[in-house]
Symmetry: C2
Subunit: 103 residues, 2 copies
DNA sequence: AATACATATGAATAAATGATCATATATAGT
DNA sequence: ACTATATATGATCATTTATTCATATGTATT
């Protein structure tokens, strides 16, 4: 019984990657950033205004999300515009949001 | 600009719930448990065998998942069988797994 | 009732995490 | 060159988290 199941074990690599992505989504600040960037591109300053948080905290989280390629950035002069960079994650975010809102 | 965006702000309640669910999925052990329970019902002992982890650690995580109604349990004598209890989360797990496996 | 087995639980500990502070870097305007 | 603005970064600190250990609870068997 256990033998059969063990063979079907998910690879450590796969779990790690999965966990990494879900962990990224498992924080209120990062979720707010993602939500704010749905359908829009915004500079750090604007994100800070919307979230009403410190610039540093937001910047740190943006880097976190960028490392996972969940967001990408575009520099124009001294301002940096962030936008979502992973349609699939975007899709799962929206899906889960529906899940939470209704049933 | 910021005014308009702030109005579209996601509610604190919604973010909290979202974060709670994603956080639950953001841990390797819990992901392995969920994966193991896909399409099956298993007792704690078997899960412990498959994950090759301490019984206590598994039990703690099962409680965690149960509190969020991600898994449910069924008692038969002295053994307790666990199974998945949220189709939507199950669906998102599978979706994300595909995402990670392929592109 | 005594023992064995299955699961749960509380406390303790080490590691990870997120915000903040201070400061650095980069670009623009004067 | 100087100043202002936008963003990034490193260190620190408090909190959270996951595992382990020891032990408790619950059930079956003899």
């Amino acid at each position: 019984m256990e033998e059969v199941l063990k063979e079907q074990m998910i690879s450590e690599q796969a779990v790690s990657e999965l966990a990494e992505i879900f962990k990224a989504l498992g924080d209120p600040t990062r979720l707010k950033i993602i939500h704010t960037l749905l359908n829009t591109e915004l500079c750090v300053h604007d994100i800070v205004q919307v979230l009403e948080m410190g610039q540093s905290a937001v910047s740190h989280q943006l880097r976190y999300l960028r490392n996972l390629r969940i967001v990408k950035r575009r520099k124009v002069g001294k301002t940096v515009y962030y936008s979502l960079d992973d349609e699939h994650i975007e899709q799962i975010f929206v899906q889960m949001l529906q899940h939470v809102k209704h049933g």
